[in-house]
Each structure stands twice: as C-alpha cells, then as structure tokens.
Amino acid sequence: MAARALLRVPQRAKRGEVIEIRALISHIMETGFRHSERGASIARDIITDFRCTYNGAEIFRARFYPAIAANPFITFTTIATESGTLRFEWSGDNEFTASESAAISVE
C-alpha cells in the first residue's frame, strides 16, 4: 500500500533561522489492542520509527508506540544551515517503509 506523506518545510530560509517542519503520513496505526465483533484480536500494525536527515546528517528521530494517533503527524524544528535536501523516512510493522524529500534554499 502506498502511503501518502505530506510535508511542510519552508522553501527558503535565512542562515541560522530556526525553522518548523511538519510531516504527516497516512497510516492506520492499528494498536493491537482492538478486537473484532467476534472477539478475535486485531494484530498490531504501526509505524515504529521516523527519521529526518538534512543533507545526510540526522537532525531528528522519533520512536512511535500504539498511543500515536492514526496518520502520524509530527512537528519539530531545525536550524537552517545550508541549502539542500531534507529527507524523511518512516518504517514500521509488516516491513512498512516510506520516504519523502523536500528542498530548502538557505541564504
């Protein structure tokens, strides 16, 4: 299943400026604690890891648990250091992986 990711990264920033980054990905985040009407338990299916790199260097990492709501949304900050690419990677249960990139130009 192709997950849809939405990013909000400023296209332009001043060098040294603290920029806010938002990343959202479509995912059910099935907790593993729910049951069907017949009583069968529904297996866990969540994104467990999120990582953001800035020109290859890791700037933020998160570990998710079932208590993260469906379609995980995360906001964090970084200092605009140089022009380049921010890369976002998600991975999780059932060999789930997804990635997305955004360009930033720093003056």
């Binding site: 529904i42 700037i59 933020f60 990492r61 998160a62 709501a69 949304f73 200092i79």
Partner: protein, 142 residues
Amino acid sequence: MNRRIFVLALALTPWMRTARADAMHDAMSAVLKGATPREGRVKIDLPPLVENGNTVPFSVSVESPMTERDHVRSIHVFNEKNPQPNIGDFFLGPRAGRAAVSTRIRLADTQTVVALAQMSDGSWWSGSANVVVTIAACTETV
C-alpha cells in the same frame, strides 16, 4: 450488590489502579536507568478536556539554550492508563534550535501524561499534565 462482592470489588479497585500506574513507573525506570528526574523545565500542552481520545493534540517543550554544550538529547512521553505506558520517544540535538515537538496521541482514559527529558549533561527533568477524556481510544471493537 451482594456484600461479599462489594467488599471484593473495593479491595481490588486500588490494586487495579496501581497495576497500571506501575506499568508507567516501570517504563519510566527502563528509560531513566537509575537516574532520578527533577521536576521542571519540561512543559506539556494538552487540552484539559478531550471529547475524543482517538486523536488528541499534544505538544512538549523543554527549557534549554539548545547549544552544542547545553541541549536536550531526548524526550520520552508516558501515560498512566492506556494498555501500554509508552507514547513516543523523540531524539534531538543542538541542530534542533528549539526543544519543541508536537504530535497527535491516543488516550484511553482520564489520566496523567508524563514527559521525561534528558539533557546533554546527563540530567533528567520531568513535566506532567492531567487530561479528562470522555470518549476513550484504543480498545473499542471494529
């Protein structure tokens, strides 16, 4: 209610409550590895009253200059009454500029949410917030 059952229920209630709080305590101990957190510097933003526990806006911020010498290394978020005590772990560093993370979380019940932050000098700080939940998340049938 039959008197014997009533007494039994009364005896079990605090035990059930501590069992869940213990799960949070254990999860926190696993992260702290013997360290004792000091209260302060960590601020949680949660709505005080939540109608739907399936998606609750959550923010955590830590007072820190976020320099190479003095920054927040990680933030760990826990809850008291969901089926699992962990919510999320966030790893940052001086390049973050600010120690502030937001996401959306699930809450199964009215409870306390706790965040622990580790600083670059190894010290731990904590903050908490209470939240009232009217419709629970996590355990419903589909």
